[in-house]
Symmetry: D2
Subunit: 367 residues, 4 copies
């Protein structure tokens, strides 16, 4: 199976390089009858767009999605849905200088080692440009999950370098360029980012993503667990170095009596597990958290080598985000949505349509 | 593809329930000619065995591996290798009481929700008993990696609840029942565990696993990245709630100048990335870290519900580890070895045998 | 994905060599709740057994299936079902002479070329012994298809060398050792086979297999078509050299007006297509036909080479069928059943449970 | 895995409808460094083109391939290669009349049954238009096979309705619009086709496809056999109703002494097996044959039903081939080439690069 595909029953195959003619994806396995129009992709693509604010990089693409197949008279037909975005803002000259150099912290060196050839224009295939198509595919998954099951998938920036939220309000998240859940802190974030950009350095971040409304029973043990699939999907996002489900690494120091989620006839009393037990959803909120490393594309020089093995100093002069974690929020949402839709289809394949024979379902009083 | 299989070219399919007649696996894709004998599985199975010390649960299985196929005159033939272990220590009566109850923090409830039926004996399929076969399969991968590439995969317990290592020595790890890298702390660990067991509670842990000798170039972008595959493989281990590669979540607060691994003609100057860039190995040590939650099988009562929706208190009287993280060390090693062998095969499929056309390989001075 | 697995959602992985300790399979993806008992495998295994009559080879195995996993209190649980059969009748000495020779028409030479090592005992992995597990897995698929959809899968020998049926009666098929659909010809078949055996030669055959009750809509275009899957599944049976769907090769000389199946409100007027159009079932009988080559294991000497490249004459002295096609009937049934069950699960994954939203269904008056 | 993908290591995913905006494919897994240019696709696309001669349908597309990704400075980079062809000749109005009717012998009815919705324009996804992308992908496979192994894949029309070749000459095949191997018969074929077209009817055909230069050892038993993969790939071509390997159905009446291919130190003495034993290539010519049914798109009226269940007569007025088998030749070549390249990659994954450790290789004196 293609290593540029993921998903077992809802399979997304992406293609394209950062500065090639186009990027695109093929979404296969979507049930027929779902209404979808080109303009529905805009909202999430804009949320991800690198030119959204002065705190993310300056590339400004139209990013208009063309639906090439799989949709007839506005509805999916069950055949593969191909989506295409032309690369209109190709500043290849920005990257000409570093074609023979391996930028530290980038995939330049490893692609070269693996393939013996690499497309150096904007990072080629390893560029975060590829995630645009994940977001586009995620739009389809989000819509299907919402219409069919009432599932919603949302994310937010839960840490920006040293700064953590002082409060939490979902309604604030979409009202600031940081996807930050506490409006009062936004000016402080802007100050922090402006200083960072001026310094030429970058910073790490943490993004949380959650799904509400997921019914109990999604996920396939042992090697197709819901948490295993989420881990693979989220770790595959550029710059991600860690994935947590539920309490994650905090569980290292927890006692069993503290971690286990007790149940009553009214539902679970807590959700340390992140809505997944044994790889299968519990019916609670599904929660995950990821870390995104600080980008290595800096205006501050860094030692590296070139293809001839000579020492060189690299300075990145192109457009780059001082915090790539910010725009990872919609990407992480897309990956979670795609995993959930895939698992929903897998579940009904083996166990029949959701709604069949629920043996016993306690209520839910998640805090 | 079976959700009880993992690996693309080295494919491992496991089967079996904790207290069924047997557990087993089928390892397919192993190159022909590898010498392998039943007794070679013993060492790692004993390292994982639940009866290894008083600090892990009391189940004592012979765990003798029978090779059912794929080996002729002591060497692999290229056909599927089936391994079988009979379950000889089936104390089903221990579990009879809880057949109608959903133990909190376990997969009882979710299996019931998903399938409408579950094997309650010892957790059935969701038991960590299944990981025995991962360790067995991992023995094959470890041997092949060592013989073919000189790659070694090793793990250790890097945190036990609040306790972290005060020193590090690989030679200490295999000399104590905790896989702890600092011998002087072992008495303190024993004291901690004895108190914990007496209290009836359990504790979380962290395990680190590393691979040395991995050549640059293994890993398939975008959705078959080496780190993505490791995340899926490690997250699929029972009780794991988080996976880190390299610096992991510490990168949230790191600056780019701090995180990026600079290169000189003599090699990389650091390894914050954990030996992976863009999903492909750099030639450095590959490092990962996981968290294992405290087991929810406790002698301390916990509120839950039964299949009729009535409130019950569960007390686990069977054998259980107060810290399941301890014996996760060989399991994590096995999963990393299986992922690496799979990626090695995938790499030579696309790019030819390792050794072909290395375009440019700086040395390595990893710290 | 393992090359010893087939099926996308109902995945069967087989293992084992002809004269190794055991053969077995893992059936994954079966819906939970299906009642299955070890004795249910007997009927089809006996139909396939090589010792069924004097017209098939003399190996007599108990072929008792042990269910190792996936079944609890007599019902499938949704976890992988492992089935095991011990090889009890291992006459390895029969094959010792030819360990260094490549029997013509066998896989001896190609396994040697591919792997550099082969298990020569009874053909090792390439023996038709492997098909025992297909038949066992097929028992599960047949039962599920029958219970869930009323689908039945049946086969018969449609040609034995030059002999074709003079009449057709399903009730005759199971009453003779040839699976022949016309009872009056059975004595002639016995005479033919006795003469053939005496001559030391072998003969080819044709087997037809059909499924009744398949609803319209199963099959996934473009590369998971029902006919494509059937072709792969049937061609993978030992000795099969050709596969036809519907009229098959007769269509070479047909006109379009002759071949196309006209429709009326009462249903299709004919079934030249074999119940499949565009890779999707039409709701008619699904029909396939295969050819099985004459076995190359003959008492008549045949020139070949040994591992040193020297010319040798091979005479096969072990037990072998003069017509391997005869016992291919239950194997072909099993493969068709497994393909249909897999497609049924795939269909309900994408399109919902059968019964959902049938847009328009004309009746069926298949001739 | 997507049902619109095939191949395990060389994975081709196609998308697009006959009269949608575009058709395309993503070819993943191609080794890096292969030179490929857009104009290299022209030759085979023209060979397949529906407007090649007056004997095939009148649609005339430019069919210019755009390479969207995976190629840098004219060479493959190891990343997915996306190919796109815009549909420029969309005569949707031709098909408007039959949007509510199910053409007999077409996939109209089955797509409707499966999905509850279908794209009626020119057959939508079920149109042979899709095979254009197979041919395009096949160009890459053919080139790689030829450069890396000296393998060539060629096909020809081996029967047109009742007419069979009176002679055989490879050099004739590409010199006539029928891919016919005997030049002297071409006028007779033209006469036959002209009469057929005038009658409004269509005819079946047979295509043979062969590969020369395939080394021994390609193919993965048991469910990834070379012949099994070929059967699936060839059966998936529109209108194909049967697949043969080697002697195919002729083996029904063959004796074992007739069919088995004897070996001498100089090689095999015959090739009834079609170059495959036990699912693995023997080093001989690999041969396959397929039947293509007569198209059901006829100017002669045929009874069918519409979506309301009423009887209607269908007359196809659009452009259609009276013998779809003719242009199937390059499609069958492409499918064989793609299967062989996939198997070549799989072989070197498990067994090392071809050339490693050949244990013993007799010569080849194929007749």
């Amino acid at each position: 199976m293609s290593s540029n595909s993921f998903g077992k029953l809802l399979t997304v195959t992406t293609f394209g390089e950062s500065h090639g003619p186009a990027i695109g994806c093929v979404v296969d396995g979507c049930p027929p009858g779902l209404e979808i129009a080109p303009e529905e992709f805009r909202h999430d693509l804009e949320r991800r767009a690198t030119g959204k604010s002065r705190h993310t990089s300056a590339r400004r693409e139209a990013d208009e999605v063309e639906i090439l197949s799989g949709v007839y008279e506005g509805r999916t037909t069950g055949t593969p849905i191909a989506l295409l975005i032309r690369n209109t803002d190709q500043r290849s000259k920005d990257y000409a200088d570093i074609a023979r150099q391996f930028r530290p912290g980038h995939a330049d060196y490893t692609y070269w080692q693996k393939y013996g050839i690499r497309d150096p224009r904007g990072g080629g295939r390893s560029s975060a440009r590829e995630t645009t198509m994940r977001v586009a595919a995620g739009v389809i998954a989000k819509k299907w999950l919402r219409q069919r099951f009432g599932v919603t998938v949302r994310g937010y920036l839960s840490q920006l370098g040293p700064i953590t939220p002082d409060g939490f309000d979902w309604s604030a998240v979409e009202d600031n360029p940081f996807f930050w859940p506490h409006a009062a802190q936004v000016p402080a974030l802007e100050t922090y980012m402006d200083a960072l950009r001026k310094s030429g350095d970058s910073i790490g971040a943490r993004v949380n993503v959650v799904a509400d409304g997921v019914p109990a029973g999604w996920g396939e043990p042992i090697y197709g667990k819901l948490d295993g699939d989420l881990a693979a999907a989220l770790m595959s996002i550029n710059a991600v170095k860690g994935v947590e489900i539920g309490d994650g690494f905090a569980a290292v120091t927890q006692k069993g009596t503290e971690h286990r989620d007790l149940m009553t006839p009214a539902g679970f009393l807590s959700n340390h597990a992140g809505g997944i037990l044994g790889g299968i959803s519990t019916g609670q909120q599904v929660t995950a958290s990821i870390v995104l490393k600080p980008t290595s594309s800096l205006r501050l020089p860094g030692a590296t080598v070139d293809v001839d093995g000579h020492t060189v100093d690299v300075i990145t002069t192109g457009r780059h985000d001082p915090c790539v974690g910010i725009r990872a929020t919609p990407i992480a949402e897309a990956m979670m949505a795609l995993v959930l839709m895939d698992q929903a289809l897998r579940h009904r394949a083996q166990c029949g349509d959701v709604g069949d024979v629920p043996p016993y379902v306690p209520g839910s009083v998640d805090g």
